[in-house]
Symmetry: C2
Subunit: 528 residues, 2 copies
């Protein structure tokens, strides 16, 4: 069922000569399917079809888009074991994780289906006319959210389902009314193709226009670059490294018509340990964090890579316990030899910096592609002076910063690069006395967590998965939750438009029964 071909709208296509295979990191060998990289011609065709499809898809009702999204979910479930096995063979991740991530992906698709079936997400806003207003009559104005056009989605290496082919970016784009072209991630091209086949089936079954979806294979960066540079593409969603995300952002900004790139990139997710919490329960916190740091071999974008506290007995106890506990955990496999190589390289780079002490380093021999976890510590001053220490080490690794005092702690936080999350570990009433720390952290992150761990991104309306650069390229949007649809829409106004020709969301009768703002008042009613 994995053909290795590109999905160009409703057709399979493999016109190119460049091929590649995915890799099983657990077995340390290539998987058998051979994927054909998309050619320039195939890229052009996918964009052309998407632009044509947009004319129809942009006008499709919320109900029909909901049917499409639910059909995608159904078709993904119908792939059953084949999908789970392919997923595991391309990532080394266990079956439980595959099924959990599939559940999350299905959940996302259905939550967007519910959103657009209900319909109020378009933010319909109506100001009715007043012909008698002086000095000039007031026109009738009606605004709603309208889709941007074809979107290109780059899948993430570490979430082959939830942040890839039919992941959050794609689900949000379809919900918005935007066709999607996926630049399939080369590390899990088989999983990607299976999901693409599910989307293609769903699109055909629910009568969506040909070109509403395409899936293009690539082993390098050229296909992605060509897509982002193509004039027919109107926005980009990306999850991955800072280097990759920034390169796409730069490319998009240089276009004759610049387009929005929402890239969710790296983050070291600072965790601040306040004094009382350290005094009361340093060891418990350390045990919890030994688990969080090594979860999924540290391959989460919310992995706690930076832990900060003021020098104290409690902090020393935390470091000792964390270091002892973390080496008790059995190492696990990384997604790909390239990811393992990157982990080793970046860990080595950080460890070799002046002032860095290694307090834990799993030293037993491990299988190929397995990662040995590590913890290091450094003084606040050294961290401030050396931005190499701010580098994300993608993997089961964390750095503890021992600050001289609270002032230095606040200063370090204020000068951190933008982050997806920040966590504060505090005991009763302690938080209140550290408002400056909280505000400094708030200014640097998209989500702030009290007495928890940053790993685990709840999919709900109130989640923010994003943050100041470089956590994302635009902190004004979240990549997770139904609010992420806002990345792919623009407000659009009708002035004095005939009622019968307005979209249903804006008609006087309010046929969709949605919540609207009418002359400043929220209402689900009709306009007389």
């Amino acid at each position: 069922m994995v053909t290795g071909k590109n999905y160009i709208g409703n057709q399979l296509s493999a016109k190119g000569n460049k091929t590649f295979q995915t890799f099983n990191p657990e077995l340390n060998k290539e998987n058998s399917p051979i994927f054909t990289e998309a050619t320039s011609e195939e890229i052009e065709e996918a964009v052309h079809l998407a632009s044509e499809a947009f004319k129809e898809f942009s006008q499709v009702s919320g109900d029909k888009k909901a049917v499409f999204l639910n059909a995608i979910a159904d078709e993904i479930l119908a792939l059953d074991d084949l999908l789970v096995q392919t997923y595991c063979s391309e990532t080394g991740l266990p079956e439980g994780r595959a099924k959990g991530e599939r559940g999350r992906t299905i959940g996302q698709l259905r939550s967007f289906a519910n959103l657009v079936a209900e319909g109020s997400w378009v933010d319909a806003t109506i100001d009715t006319a007043d012909a008698n207003r002086e000095p000039q009559p007031k026109p009738d104005l009606r605004k709603f959210n309208f889709p941007l056009g074809p979107i290109v989605v780059f899948g993430a290496s570490n979430f082959p389902l939830a942040y890839s082919t039919a992941g959050g970016d794609t689900a949000a784009a379809f919900a918005a009314g935007c066709p999607v072209i996926v630049k399939s991630h080369p590390m899990h091209a088989g999983t990607g193709e299976l999901v693409a086949s599910a989307i293609q089936k769903a699109a055909i079954k629910t009568n969506m226009p040909n070109g509403v979806f395409s899936n293009l294979n690539s082993s390098g960066i050229e296909v992605g670059q060509k897509l982002v540079s193509n004039a027919g593409v109107k926005a980009v969603g990306f999850t991955g490294s800072i280097k990759g995300g920034r390169a796409l952002y730069d490319l998009a900004a240089k276009r004759e018509e610049p387009i929005p790139v929402f890239a969710e990139m790296g983050s070291i997710n600072p965790v601040v340990l306040l004094p009382k919490a350290l005094e009361n329960r340093a060891q418990d916190i350390a045990k919890t964090y030994a688990g969080s740091i090594t979860l999924a071999t540290g391959q989460f974008c919310t992995n706690p890579g930076l832990i900060l506290g003021v020098k104290s007995e409690g902090l020393t106890s935390f470091i000792d316990t964390l270091s002892n506990e973390i080496v008790k955990i059995n190492p696990s496999v990384m997604l790909h030899p390239n990811i393992k190589e990157g982990y080793l390289k970046n860990k080595e780079k950080v460890v070799s910096q002046d002032g860095v002490s290694v307090t834990a380093n799993y030293s037993e021999v491990v299988q190929d592609n397995y990662a040995q976890q590590a913890v290091v510590t450094v003084k606040g001053e050294d961290f401030l002076q050396n931005t190499t220490l701010h580098l994300e080490v993608f993997g089961p690794f964390s750095m503890v910063i021992q600050c001289e005092d609270e002032k230095q702690l606040e200063h370090i936080i204020s000068n951190l690069e933008g982050q997806l999350t920040g966590t504060i570990i505090a005991d009763n009433n302690e938080l209140e006395t550290y408002r400056n720390i909280v505000h400094a952290l708030q200014d640097r992150v998209g989500r702030i967590i009290f007495n928890g761990v940053p790993t685990g991104v709840e999919v709900c309306e109130s989640m923010v998965h994003g943050g100041p650069y470089p956590a994302s390229t635009d902190s004004r949007f979240t990549a997770v939750g139904v609010g992420s649809i806002k990345r792919w829409v623009r407000p659009f106004s009708y002035q004095d438009w005939p009622n019968n020709l307005l979209p249903d969301a804006l008609k006087n009768e309010n046929p969709l029964g949605i919540l609207r703002s009418v002359n400043g008042i929220k209402s689900t009613g009709k306009i007389d």
Copy 2:
């Protein structure tokens, strides 16, 4: 009362050597005040103060921000005749326009005051915890809008009040909780300073932190470039030319930390004349448009610079009447000799292109800085082949495109650059048969108007003033209406945060009584 100095927070400052004066286009001579351009040191100081002020201002309550915004409005009104006279002397615009624009500016400030006093604009969204959820407990997540940080605002040449110092960008930024640094427009630096003095007074009277506002003079582009490149600046608002806006966008995109630039740039605001309307009332439409094209000497960003119709007797009659009527209108003065020069240059450039026929050109001698209105026509094919004809001619000028047929009309619309507005002139039931035209136009504009003129931008919630590039650099936002606040905020989530330390908007008790989304249900109630 015009000192010519920079306003750096609560201080006046003039450390530089570079000075300039504004110009009275009606009298054709310089105005007397001498303005001192801001130095690098002054720029740094303004940004430093703004960054410090942000720590406090970002946490200020909606009520207090409302008092600040209303105080600005009061202080602007208190400037009375001095402001009106300065405005007129720096623009050539009549007193009525000055007062009208002041009213609009005051209205904008007060509408943002109302918005933040009411408070629901923060889009508070709450998902409560569920400790019993399987397989993992559900955390408590609460999201709201949080300000980005210091914003730089570039005033517009053609709206010294409503789109400048205390205009929409500044009002929205203050409402959001962002300090503002205005790069004052050199053509109306005196008007700018007066308004700056009103803001400074209001800030002091209402106890806002020092640095919440600064106003920097400049005659060239360097001050703006330094501001946009400064690491402390977190977003930019601009209204002006495509060249200027794009340069700032490029500069912001190249920063180590790229920042959002919302630039509202040029637009030629296509007007589509459908056949029946032309058949029934070509002359009436032409008379209306002769007025719209010359309104305020054509110096509106919504000026109808492009009129499209299919060749017909009606279109010929429209062109004849428009050409006859427009030359009956008395020419008026432009804002500045540079604007007049730009008008002449761009008009000349368009007129000299192959296939362009001049059907009206006011030929009598006019005063210095007055603009002679003109109308030209061109065939659809010529327009398609020559993008020089797509150029905005800022001034009392319009081009009528005679299309071969409906297909060519649709093709031309589909291939237009992005626009602020599109207008369709149609008679009963005719619109319904031209859905393709409507959809093509919808894809290219931010606002679509039925049987009206694009000039006149109603300030209300349902207005979109923005559109696909190059109408704006980000079509996902509007520059007018309270929704424009979204340019300057980002969503921010608290996870499992203690209720008493949450911002009021997110507390269980809902002390602000705002509309929130609680577990997916809209409610103004408390959470038990």
